[in-house]
């Protein structure tokens, strides 16, 4: 058994941690949030230059051959500063689909993705269709035209291309669609965590390519599983910041002639927040250290349930212990809660993943 990180992994963590620690304070983050793109293009360029966008791709695709462990420690650092740059949407989800796909020009697309020149969004969920990945109405016809409505397409307003998941013949496939393609329209919106998202409307839109006709559903599933590991790691980073901010605040804030942190009832609450964070880290490690594919899948479902619950709890407690200040837009702690709440609801609810865990 080996639970330690490699030298390369430690270097990566240090480099991400350095960026988040010195170049990504709360004010910088909110500037990104309130900008037109919902993120800072300069940061995105920097991520590309530092090679971060290349991590989960194989060397023959121009990547760094990194795995879930690398992504996970990166996202944990992102979570500590609730970074809004669209890594999940581009690299993990769209990249995750592309790298596993049989799309002919995938090498070109991935190259542009890694260089930060092109952004790509995955469009799979549909309104009122719930969380099951195969529950879609959108149909890609034999000649590659596609009609339908995709919702909460992460980072849609910034996407140059879309990977649209839909029914195809008797199975499923992906359709590659460029921004502004005839018959396509994006309704952009902000999500309450400060990220951007959108609905993708398609009406007889001609796809540039239809791909992975035999195993699209499995590819989508694998990309989402990787996404769950990433957002869970992100949640753990956010939880760590939440309890640290809370300790700091209660030490500074004086009521009844002493620091709030001196009250035992509040100390116990902060201990609980810390414990939830630590046990979440442990569970994440269990997932990362499990090789058996089926066992690992089951554990990822469990991870989503565990971490989402813990994250919401820690975020709520952090706000509560900040008192009135915790619910103001000007304090960072409320923004952590918002992101943690979104993570709770990404890809499916806690109950959904508990059921998936039980069933698999």
């Amino acid at each position: 058994m080996n639970l330690s990180y490699t030298d390369e992994q430690n270097l990566l963590r240090d480099s991400v941690s350095k960026f988040c620690g010195s170049d990504y304070d709360f004010e910088t983050r909110m500037k990104s949030v309130n900008s037109e793109n919902g993120h800072n293009p300069e940061h995105w360029k920097l991520f590309a230059e530092l090679g971060w966008l290349a991590i989960p791709f194989s060397e023959d695709l121009g990547g760094l051959d990194g795995g879930d462990v690398d992504l996970s420690l990166m996202f944990e650092e992102f979570g500590k500063s609730i970074v809004v740059e669209p890594y999940l949407a581009n690299v993990v989800l769209s990249g995750g689909v592309l790298k596993r796909s049989d799309l002919e020009n995938k090498a070109d697309l991935i190259e542009q993705l890694i260089a930060g020149e092109k952004q790509i969004s995955l469009a799979n969920y549909e309104p009122k269709k719930g969380f099951n990945l195969d529950n879609v109405e959108c149909e890609i016809s034999d000649d590659g035209t596609i009609s339908g409505l995709k919702t909460t397409v992460l980072n849609a307003p910034n996407a140059d291309s879309f990977l649209v998941f839909g029914k195809h013949q008797s199975s499923f496939a992906f359709a590659l669609i460029s921004k502004g393609a005839e018959g396509s329209k994006v309704t952009p919106y902000k999500t309450y965590d400060g990220f951007v998202s959108g609905d993708l409307h398609l009406e007889n839109c001609k796809a540039e390519a239809v791909f992975s006709k035999s195993d699209a559903l499995e590819i989508l599933h694998q990309a989402i599983l990787e996404g769950i590991i990433c957002v869970s790691s992100e949640a753990i980073g956010a939880m760590e910041t939440c309890y640290k901010l809370t300790i700091e605040y209660t030490q500074q804030r004086e009521q009844f002639g002493q620091s709030l942190s001196k009250f035992q009832a509040l100390q116990h609450r902060m201990v609980d927040m810390f414990m939830e964070t630590e046990f979440s880290k442990s569970f994440l490690l269990k997932v990362l250290a499990t090789d058996d594919v089926n066992e690992r899948t089951k554990l990822i479902y469990g991870l989503k349930n565990q971490v989402a619950k813990a994250g919401k709890y820690v975020g709520e407690e952090a706000v509560q212990l900040h008192g009135g200040m915790g619910v103001t837009e000007e304090m960072s702690v409320g923004h952590y809660l918002k992101r943690l709440l979104v993570i709770t609801n990404l890809f499916g609810s806690n109950d959904y993943f508990l059921d998936k865990y039980i069933e698999s």
Binding site: Y125, P127, K128, K129, G130, F131, N132, N135, L149, T151, T152, T187, P188, Y189, K190, T191, Y192, D193, S197, D199, E254, Q255, F256, G257, A265, L266, E316, V319, Q320, G323, G324, G326, V327, T328, E329, E330, G334, H335, L337, K338, L341, V342, T344, N345, L346, F347, G348, S349, N350, D351, Y352, L354, D355
Partner: protein
């Protein structure tokens, strides 16, 4: 002892329903059903409609214009209003400062303020918390110095709900800092139009502007606006807080929200069967209903005691804790139901001109959840309420 309504009670219930049917303004009802924010004018319009019927004083003594209803009638009345989705009454005048005025105020103050509160001619707001004085309210520093027949106010209050709409504010000020911190606090009524008052918005995590900072810069207030005795404000402040806390629980409103979620669940699919048939969801709803029943009966017990002339005491802390916990639980349930379709930001400063695929009710679930984080903090945090129960109820 029985829980059945008498024939008279049922007639009264029908009377309330008839009133709501005829007099609850349709455009307000529509906005409330959609989860839209009401303007100041609309909130006033609703209160005026109730005032015209003579039903504003449901918790007031008859001598000051109260309805004189027994506990059952008050319960029926508030329940019908909540079930019809009416806006909750702005409590700062009606339920908070009014009892202080009729209990501790002068005859002139009673004559001047109570009828206008009952008729909602004046909108009141609260000047209690300060940046450095939240849970430890008695440490407040906002200062009032007597000069002739006036007090001169300097300092800052915060978390003043809907202060941007208010005509009057009741303020706790320090008139003496030589003794214990609870001494030397004075309860004073201030016209918001007085020169030197500035209202600064505080934006909360749901993106809304509901609370404010209120700044006082040499604000001159007539001495006749002091309630009761100078230096005795802490006694009145606590009396008011008991009234505030007993009106926070909001069980009937939660009953309405729960009903609407149950209906929505029949058409909400997270998997291939509707959420209403999902065991996890069913047990959450059932547990919520059980807790709500217990809360409602606790509220009724308090109401019955009030009708027998007892002022709400430390027991109101029970209602505050449980009521606000349940409010947060149901707002969480709504967020869970919305799933990822609750992600588009539907708060007050969200999109205005784009048509989003997610339903309006999904989109407002998260802003509501975020807004409800405040309820376990305001009116004295739930942690403080537990201290009060330990000390004043359990005698520990």
């Amino acid at each position: 002892m029985d829980l059945n309504f008498s024939k008279e009670d049922l007639e009264f219930r029908d009377e309330v329903r008839e009133f709501l049917d005829k007099e609850y303004p349709k455009h307000i009802k529509e906005k409330m059903n959609n989860g839209d924010e009401l303007s100041r004018e609309e909130i006033v319009e609703w209160h005026k409609a109730v005032a015209k019927k003579g039903w504003m004083g449901h918790s007031w003594p008859v001598e000051h214009g109260g309805t004189g209803w027994d506990a059952t009638k008050v319960y029926i009345y508030l329940r019908e209003l909540a079930l019809a989705g009416c806006p909750t009454f702005v409590p700062f005048g009606l339920q908070m400062v009014a009892p202080v005025i009729w209990t501790f105020g002068s005859e002139e103050q009673k004559k001047k303020f109570l009828p206008r509160i009952l008729n909602f001619d004046d909108w009141w707001c609260q000047g209690y918390s300060e940046p450095g004085s939240g849970s430890d309210l008695a440490s407040l520093k906002c200062k009032a110095v007597k000069e002739g027949d006036e007090y001169v106010l300097n300092g800052q209050k915060t978390w003043t709900t809907l202060g941007q709409h208010a005509d009057w504010i009741f303020v706790l000020v320090r008139t003496d800092d030589s003794g214990k911190k609870q001494e030397g606090i004075t309860f004073i009524l201030v016209d918001m139009k007085t020169p030197g008052i500035e209202v600064k918005p505080i934006i909360t995590i749901d993106g809304d502007h509901e609370v404010n900072e209120i700044w006082f810069d040499n604000v001159r207030v007539p001495a006749e606006n002091v309630v009761g005795e100078e230096g005795q404000g802490w006694t009145y402040a606590k009396f008011l807080l008991f009234h505030e806390r007993s009106s926070i629980a909001g069980a009937p409103n939660m009953r309405r929200v729960l009903n609407s979620l149950k209906i929505k669940a029949k058409n909400t699919y997270h998997t291939d069967k509707p959420l209403s048939e999902d065991k996890n969801f069913q047990s959450k709803v059932a547990q919520f209903e059980l807790d709500l029943d217990a809360l409602e009966m606790t509220e009724l017990r308090g109401l019955a005691a009030m009708r027998e002339g007892k002022s709400p005491g430390a027991e109101s802390s029970l209602l505050k804790i449980k009521g606000t916990e349940l409010q947060q639980r149901i707002s969480t349930l709504a967020v869970e139901m919305a799933g990822h379709e609750g992600m588009p930001y539907g708060g007050p400063y969200g999109f205005s001109d784009v048509e989003v695929a997610a339903t309006k009710s999904d989109q407002i679930s998260a802003p509501k959840y975020l807004n409800f984080r405040k309820v376990t903090i305001y009116g004295g945090t739930n942690e403080i309420q537990k201290n009060i129960i330990a000390k004043a109820v359990l005698g520990i």
